[in-house]
Symmetry: C2
């Protein structure tokens, strides 16, 4: 697994001349980072004076965030594998008409999968933004900037994953499938940007006062 | 060093109930991620047909990005250390007037340093955005979404670092120092958001066509 590499080796692997791990895996990594920061803000709130009212919520958030982190961690590899699978299909034989048809069908299936993997990352990362909003508003004020960085990371997870959805949609022949994902991508993109802006503007306002 | 941890262990360390590594280190990590993706797009362009014209530029970019990556990697620890240093000053003795004065001066110095470390991260990450713009526009078209994710990561590095600048400025008594950094932070924040939006809008437009 990519997350078994040291941070340094992982970054060097990204920097190399192999297309994976690339933007798709980094989108998932951003989801994992956002989850980890969210758990931290929750943990820094639990048991603290003046935050007793939200104790149960924070415990719930920290637990949810840890689970989300593990899903995103698995997605880091899943995204790279989905890309590799499409690439493998392109190498299938295409000497006969039968081979051509089988190859083309395999490419279509693999490309749909390569669109669905980042779509799920985008959905999960957008869902995480609601939890981040809660820790940003109700969690330990000393950690509010950490919640903001979590929110930015979640936005990168959503938008970065959606770019990988869109780039795959261009090669998918099933128009109904492609149109549905395109519509969902448009909505998630708008919502993620609006949500991030709303919270960051509010907190930047507080920090400047 | 934090980057010697595996990605998984690093994320678990972030998620724990210690304020560091937190948003400041994650801002620097985003700078390192943005640099790594930039180097990758450069590497995926070098030696490719139809990109001969920009061969030298791409080699230059890949080399610059690798150097930037290493600086950001060092910043991941530097940011956490700067935070720990402020925290250590708060534990200094304050029984006598002399001790109080020494403690207060030490806190001020350490807090200035804790503002300057993320300010440098923000400056470097904003500078990186120019290079990312070049690879996004002139690099391998197949890797354009990777350049976009690099750009988002660089924006998080700028904005996340600036939040850590601002939160320290509130405790700094040297008004000239604080005002100057505040002004620079305002400018960098606006420029980073504008730069990201400009490039993402243009590329999203292309991907939808």
């Amino acid at each position: 697994m990519l997350v078994e590499l040291t941070v340094k080796d992982f970054l060097n692997k990204v920097a190399g001349n192999d297309p994976v791990p690339g933007g798709g895996s980094i989108a998932a990594l951003n989801g994992a980072v956002a989850s980890a920061l969210t758990a931290m803000v929750g943990n820094l709130t639990i048991g603290k004076k003046n935050y007793e009212e939200h104790e149960e919520l924070m415990k719930h958030i920290a637990s949810l965030a840890m689970k989300a982190k593990d899903v995103f961690i698995a997605d880091i590899d899943r995204d790279s594998e989905a890309y590799d699978a499409v690439f493998a299909c392109f190498k299938m034989p295409k000497a006969t008409d039968e081979e051509k048809a089988a190859r083309s069908a395999a490419i279509q299936e693999a490309t749909k999968h390569a669109a669905l993997v980042p779509m799920q990352v985008a959905r999960n990362a957008y869902e995480l933004m609601s939890i981040i909003t809660d820790v940003a508003r109700l969690g330990n004020k000393n950690a509010v900037t950490d919640a903001c960085v979590a929110l930015m990371s979640a936005r990168t997870a959503v938008l970065g994953a959606l770019l990988n959805v869109r780039i795959n949609l261009g090669s998918i022949k099933d128009k109904t499938f492609a149109d549905e994902l395109q519509r969902e991508a448009d909505i998630l993109e708008r919502l993620a940007c609006e949500r991030e802006k709303e919270i960051l503007d509010a907190i930047n306002q507080e920090l400047r006062v």
